[in-house]
């Protein structure tokens, strides 16, 4: 009996809540849906923050988040067993899958050029918005569009930082780069964005 099956047999609510991500992950791989549910509950806020930028609507983002969890579990066996890569912590793997699926989702729908980016903003009150609010919303939309057009690594570091609030150390682990390198990419991204925002003013 492997570790995943053992967890599946003995796990009650408390046992699952105290199990490590990796133990739950292996249990989910052996088909334990309670372990999978616990993983989702544990990381749903993080994944939600990561995929919001790529979803056209909240429903779209929720479905994307669901796909992220399913793919993360599936992908583990493909990537780490078939290709014999070095295993990484589940959380870092989950973030990688979320960013990649989000990016792919946005590209498939050719959304970057055609549609406003990120979740639709609900107006606070009925009726027309003041001109200032409309201008601010438009500038924000443009800045988000610019962020997604940054070079790949800069875009990834920037969104991991401002969407999910990850530390540079965690961003480095997630992307397989050093903490300092993550920071350098972030600096470049912000400099470009600031210059571009100023130009559009």
């Amino acid at each position: 009996m492997n570790a995943g099956q053992r967890l599946s047999v003995v796990a009650g609510g408390d046992a699952q809540r105290s199990a490590s991500d990796e133990a739950l992950w292996k249990a989910a791989l052996s088909g334990d849906d309670r372990a999978f549910g616990e993983l989702v509950a544990r990381h749903q806020v993080l994944v939600m923050k990561l995929v919001r930028r790529y979803g056209r609507t909240p429903e779209d983002a929720r479905d994307l988040a669901q796909q992220v969890f399913l793919r993360a579990v599936d992908g583990w066996s493909r990537t780490f067993l078939r290709f014999r890569r070095q295993e990484i912590p589940f959380r870092a793997w989950l973030i990688r899958v979320a960013v990649n699926l989000g990016k792919n989702h946005a590209r498939q729908l050719a959304r970057w050029a055609l549609e406003p980016l990120g979740p639709e903003v609900e107006p606070a009150a009925p009726g027309p918005l003041p001109v200032e609010a409309l201008e601010a919303a438009e500038r924000s939309r443009m800045a988000r569009a610019m962020a997604l057009k940054l070079p790949r690594r800069q875009r990834e570091v920037l969104t991991l930082r401002i969407d999910a609030g990850l530390s540079f150390e965690e961003i480095g682990v997630t992307l397989g780069i050093t903490t300092n390198n993550a920071k350098v990419h972030y600096h470049h991204a912000v400099k470009k964005l600031a210059a571009q925002v100023a130009k559009e003013r």
């Binding site: 909240p58 929720r62 792919n104 590209r107 057009k149 690594r153 401002i162």
Partner: protein
Amino acid sequence: MAGCEEMEAKILDRAAGALPEAESAAVQAHLDGCPRCRAWAASCAEAVQLAALPQPSEAELRLFAQLPARARVVFRERANRSVWGRPLTVGLLGAAVVAAVMVVAAPRLRGRRGPSPLAAALVAQPEPTELETWALSDPLEDQEEQAVEDGSVEQDDGTDLDLDSESME
């Protein structure tokens, strides 16, 4: 460079909310006395603020609260499908291979040269999808980026603003 060079990294860290507490007083003191750095720090902070997503709405929070239950149902359905669907999948795959072989072999048996375009399409090996490549097999690796050593990324003076460039992809 829009401000004092020695302050650039600290101002950018400050815009990220990543400036160590111990350094914030010194940076603030510099900003108080340097209008150029102050203006640049404000524009960096504004850019980050503009690029950030708005807070999730009530409707979004409600939708996302459904996620664990929904995902678990889909997971269970997939697990059941994979148990019962495996023999069927193998059978279908076998039938597809036999059909492809027959399509390829038939013209040869009739003395024709090479398979028809339709047959060629049928026997073409499926390419891995971008999704597979990105999300599963090669997550976020970037060969060019791997060559970048710490701090050796070429200095960006803000003049290279071709945001359409995907040269780092």
